[in-house]
């Protein structure tokens, strides 16, 4: 949590001024019972109408001035809370931009989105309430106690004794209440999840006749949710009544010992009324405090989550960028392995790609093609062995260098909402339209882009107004216009028909003649023209060579080839 407080430091002045003005407001409120008591003892007793009117005028004045103080306090609190939240969001966003792929996998992007949105909002509310109200309540409670002591010590004792009792009681209710509440929340999300699953998978559930099973499970979850809610409701329903009783016992005790003092002439009737009113203020404040605690607790748990995310050290450390790419060898992998936590996804990978070569990687679903590419582009670091790019270990390049050097196009092409031009220029704001057009042409995307209205055409969220094949071509164009030294196409033409696929590969080669290209694919046709083809299976390279060499030497490759030519291979 400490790292979060750092962001509040920038609002130190506001964070101090807000509670300070609250303190002034409370002081004026605490004065009210004294004015009333003075009015009773002097005004009413002596039938002094002017004094009564003066006292009441003072009450109105205090109300107005108190309001002024409150406005100032609210202003500073809002300023600090919203500024703090904005800074926190910026910091989080920047932080997410530094996390590595495996960090992102581990933290989960949907949870990061929750962090960025609802968690920050809750913390903002928490800070705002803390500055504004959480300090107000203790001010009122302790101020009232002190004020009572100032009037008369004996009667104030019974009141003072009640305060810790109340605090402990409120604290206990909150403590157990939060526990029960979080249990209710988790069983609630269980029922919601089951309902959602049943809706999404209704065909499968009905096809497998699993309705009764699901219904029984839902009914159990629903019952335990209801029981939990009742339990938590019973507990929190105690808060109001018990506080009410404790305060009234304190008032009665105070009045009795006050009566003794009054009888002795050591205390006036008005002063007893003042003490009574002070206790009533405390009651209201304590109940508010309890409500607040719920919000604050929520904010704290959100804060803890945020703090944990911010504390994550990016697992990939980029180099200083002091090395320069050079050499004949674009990629050199020696004895590399990679695992995502389970069995190795890549084992003992050795690979050497000369600058300017076109290299194919072929293999089935889950054979490790994408993992291999992730190593080359340094989306992940290998567990063993080493990866060199253009003469240097990948870990020595800065992130900027690396991204400029390697253009990787994934199978699932992603477009962002905005215009097509924005999408293409994202990250390379300086490039001109002629470059964009050249890249689109090389990616065989120029014709449909023209048809959609050129570079300024709208891209809807998720790029849903483009077909899969169109998105893939745009993603290729986006990579090309950065003119990378190494272009990696990771199954990025899977949605294209064979003819377009072939045309695009030709155009890319034409576009940048000395660019090194790696094509990972399931289709033999996508890689058969490559200088070298690597065949992958089960996380290993099981063969490499040209198409012809592999056909005769690598049975696996021959099998794949056969499976894609309808088994006869005659055409």
């Amino acid at each position: 949590m400490k790292n979060l407080l750092g962001y509040l430091k920038r609002y130190r002045a506001q964070s101090i001024l807000a509670p300070l003005f609250k303190l002034f407001e409370v002081a004026l409120e605490l004065a009210v019972p004294f004015i009333v008591s003075y009015m009773i003892d002097n005004g009413i007793k002596n039938a002094d109408r002017t004094l009564v009117i003066k006292c009441c005028a003072l009450l109105v004045l205090f109300a107005a001035v108190g309001f002024g103080f409150a406005v100032v306090a609210q202003y500073f609190a809002a300023k600090a809370a919203t500024g703090f939240a904005a800074d926190l969001r910026n910091a989080l966003y920047t932080h997410i931009g530094r996390l590595s792929y495996s960090d992102l996998d581990r933290l989960g992007t949907s949870s990061l989105i929750t962090n960025m949105t609802s968690d920050v909002t809750r913390v903002q509310t928490g800070v705002n309430l803390t500055l504004r109200l959480l300090l107000r309540s203790p001010f009122v409670v302790f101020g009232a106690v002190i004020a009572c002591f100032a009037i008369s010590v004996r009667p104030a004792l019974s009141f003072a004794a009640a305060v810790p009792v109340l605090l402990v009681f409120v604290y206990l209710i909150m403590l157990f209440g939060m526990k029960l509440y979080s249990r209710v929340q988790s069983s609630l999300s269980l029922t919601v999840r089951r309902a959602k699953e049943n809706l999404d998978g209704v065909r499968v559930i009905r096809a497998f006749g699993a309705e009764d099973d699901e219904r029984a499970k839902f009914s159990d979850e629903n019952e335990s949710l209801c029981a939990g809610q009742k339990r938590s409701g019973r507990l929190s329903a105690l808060l109001n009544p018990v506080t009410f009783v404790i305060v009234n016992i304190a008032v009665a005790a105070m009045m009795y010992s006050g009566a003794i003092k009054v009888n002795d002439g050591a205390l006036t009737q008005g002063e007893t009324v003042a003490m009574y009113n002070l206790t009533a203020m405390v009651l209201v404040e304590l109940i508010k405090l309890a409500d607040l605690t719920i919000n604050i607790t929520k904010a704290l748990s959100s804060g803890k989550r945020l703090s944990a995310v911010l504390a994550v050290k990016p697992s990939v450390k980029y180099g200083a960028g002091s090395v320069e790419p050079a050499g004949e060898c674009a990629v050199k992998i020696t004895g590399a392995s990679l695992s995502y936590g389970g069995k190795e996804a890549l084992s003992d990978i050795n690979m050497e790609i000369k600058t300017g070569q076109t290299v194919g990687i072929i293999g089935g679903t889950g054979s490790g093609k994408s993992s291999l590419i992730a190593l080359i582009a340094r989306f992940y670091d290998c567990d063993g062995g080493s990866v060199e790019l253009f003469g240097n270990d990948v870990r020595e390049y800065s992130e900027k260098q690396l991204r400029a050097l390697v253009g990787a196009v994934p199978q699932r092409a992603v477009l962002f909402e905005g215009t097509l031009r924005e999408n293409l220029k994202n990250g390379v704001p300086g490039v001109g339209d002629d470059v964009l057009h050249g890249a689109l042409e090389a990616a065989c995307a120029d014709d449909f882009v023209e048809a959609k209205g050129g570079l300024d055409c709208r891209v809807e969220p998720g790029g849903r107004n483009f077909s899969g094949g169109q998105k893939q071509r745009l993603a290729v164009a986006r990579a090309l216009l950065r003119s990378p030294s190494l272009l990696i196409l990771d199954d990025s033409s899977s949605a294209l028909d064979y003819a377009t696929d072939a045309r695009m590969r030709g155009a890319i080669k034409e576009y940048a003649k000395d660019m090194t290209v790696i094509v990972a694919a399931q289709r033999v046709s996508s890689v058969r023209g490559a200088d070298v083809i690597y065949v992958m299976d089960d996380g290993r390279i099981i063969g490499f060579g040209t198409h012809e060499e592999l056909l005769s030497d690598c049975p696996r490759y021959a099998q794949i080839y056969a499976s894609q030519t309808g088994g006869d291979g005659d055409e």
Binding site: R203, I249, G427, G566
Partner: protein, 579 residues
């Protein structure tokens, strides 16, 4: 609000009406008891006279005050507990009912209504209905009881001072309203800015890997900071102005308090039959009196939304359900599937399938091919009886499917769809959907046959790896393999495969095909396919176009015919061949 809705609500909460009545009575008693306490303390204050305190009167008075407040507290607690039990009970009832309803709804409804929409019946609507209705109702009732009670108590003490309170209270309500209406626009502005930011964050964070691969993170950060700044400004405005509500009402209440003090004190001085104790009680009441007003205005909005929720829930529960189940057990019949002069359409005015006739002999494999939208998937919907035919019939083993229990009809088929569906749970649990009692060895065996065993082993916890909602980190192909393993585990009598291997590579597909061949050996199977290899060996190929079967035969006979299938084959499948 209409009468019919009120009727339905009453029927729904019928079993809780005694609880409601109890709550009403208890809230009246509570209001009386809790308001009596300040009066007692007021009387006690009147006894506080220098050198003249009557302790004999004072002590019982104070004890009475404590006892009354204890009684009020107990009643308040009991009231809340009863009320909570009723509210949560009704919510659970409604949740249960909507869930039950879900599995009785025809797919015709579920297919066209967004999941999120239906889901909110389970969550928000059920909860808001119970919360708003019951908690709102009691709050409203207690609020009114407290206001009336306070008025009565004040009037019995001194009508003239009461008038000051009654006249000034609207001021507090008015200020609260004013601020609320002013801040409404600010909150909308804040919500709009927040929504803009959320959608930006959702896009760039969920696709963070792409952002990074493009080196676009600096660009994005600049854009984020710009919209973050906007949000900060609008949030500042909304937060600040809305936080003025409490100080303003407090200020107005303080003025009411001063007015009571003034009129009260002057009445005491004028000897109008009022004591200092009464004044003190009055001041306590003045503090209490304004509170329920502020609460009630919130309650009314809550009640309105509760009724809206109720309306949505009831209209959901009233959606026509699937027609009643037949009684025949499909398991006892043969596997001959016969479609007899069958017509079907999703929309009455848009005919889809017209007068289809077809018989699948037991043990034969039927492939269904045709361009997108020709009715392939519809046919499967009808075979599984996810939809009912409009005219004609579909029968299995000579019995109309409408005369069978749906359960037994569907149990006869093993179905793999192109759209994969995985639930939250372990890999093993996901494979065992159709047979929850299957042992791990059987599950592994099924996974091996679906060629899923290899990648499952590589997952962090193997078969015990928990798959998140929507399949988590699995690729589309891997998800499809898990769905195939499910069917492998059930070993059904007949198979329906709707582009079941569309996202699997050709080698794996070939292997799965072998496994399917083993599984379908001698069994009836329907295959919707888009790849050549899955169609070639079918006993009969149905070529569909715009809802009707235009050609049928084996691959060889259809190719010889050089008709629609031949064209389709040339355009759709040929490109799959090496040129």
């Amino acid at each position: 609000m209409n009468k019919a809705l009120l009727h339905k609500i009453l029927r729904q909460i019928k079993s809780r009406i005694p609880a409601l009545i109890a709550v009403i009575i208890l809230s009246l008693i509570y209001a009386g008891l809790s308001l009596y306490v300040p009066l007692l303390f007021g009387r006690a204050i009147d006894l506080l006279i220098e050198r003249g305190v009557d302790f004999g009167l004072l002590a019982p008075l104070l004890i009475r005050a404590v006892l009354f407040s204890a009684a009020a507290a107990i009643i308040q607690w009991v009231m809340n507990v009863i009320n909570n039990a009723a509210a949560y009970g009704i919510t659970a009832d409604l949740r249960g009912k909507t869930f039950e309803k879900l599995h009785r709804l025809p797919l015709g409804y579920l297919d066209v209504h967004p999941t999120g929409d239906t889901l909110s019946r389970f969550t928000n609507d059920a909860e808001q209905f119970a919360d708003g209705l019951l908690l709102g109702f009691t709050q409203l009732f207690t609020g009114v009881a407290l206001i009336v009670g306070t008025l009565v108590f004040m009037l019995t003490i001194k009508p003239s001072v009461t008038a000051a309170v009654v006249l000034l209270t609207p001021l507090s309500l008015f200020t609260a309203r004013l601020i609320a209406s002013r801040t409404f626009g600010m909150f909308s502005a804040q919500a709009a800015d927040a929504a803009k930011q959320t959608s930006f964050v959702t896009e760039t964070v969920s696709e963070q890997k792409t952002v990074r691969a493009l080196g676009a993170e600096d660009d994005d950060r600049a854009r984020f900071e710009a919209c973050n700044e906007k949000l900060r400004a609008s949030s500042m405005k909304a937060t600040f102005f809305s936080s003025l509500t409490n100080p303003s009402t407090r200020c107005v209440n303080a003025i009411v308090y001063a007015a009571v003090a003034l009129t009260g004190a002057l009445t005491v001085i004028a000897g109008g039959g009022m004591t200092v104790g009464m004044l003190s009680s009055f001041l306590a009441y003045a503090n209490k009196y304004t509170k329920p007003f502020n609460e009630i205005s919130g309650v009314i909005a809550e009640l309105q939304s509760a009724f809206a929720c109720a309306d949505r829930i009831f209209s959901f529960l009233e959606i026509p359900e699937e027609p009643a189940d037949g009684a025949v057990d499909r398991a006892k019949l043969s596997d001959e599937v016969r479609i007899d002069d069958m017509s079907f359409s999703y929309l009455p005015d848009r005919p889809l399938i017209e007068h289809m006739d077809f018989t699948a002999e037991p043990g034969k494999h039927t492939a269904i091919v045709g361009p997108t939208g020709c009715g392939k998937t519809t046919l499967i919907n009808l075979l599984m009886r996810f939809y009912d035919v409009r005219d004609g019939s579909i029968s299995v083993g000579g019995t109309d499917v409408r005369d069978m229990t749906r359960r037994s009809l569907r149990a006869g088929y093993g179905m793999v769809l192109q759209d994969t569906w995985l639930r939250y749970g372990t890999v093993a649990g996901n494979i065992a959907v159709g047979r929850p009692d299957a042992g791990l060895d059987e599950i592994i065996e099924a996974a091996k046959r679906a060629h899923a065993h290899g990648f499952i082993e590589r997952l962090p916890q193997g078969y015990d790896t928990v798959i998140g909602e929507d399949g988590g980190g699995l690729s589309q192909g891997q998800k499809q393999l898990l769905c195939i393993a499910r069917v492998m585990l059930c070993r059904p009598r007949m198979l329906i495969l709707d582009e079941a291997t569309s996202s699997v590579d050709t080698m794996t597909e070939k292997k799965i095909q072998q496994a399917f061949d083993e599984l379908t050996q001698g069994r009836t199977a329907f295959v919707v396919a888009h790849r050549l290899s899955t169609v070639l060996n079918a006993d009969e190929i149905l070529v569909m176009r715009a809802g009707s079967i235009v050609e049928r035969g084996t691959h060889v006979t259809l190719m010889e015919k050089r008709g629609f299938y031949y064209d389709l084959y040339q355009s759709q499948f040929r490109q799959g061949k090496q040129i």
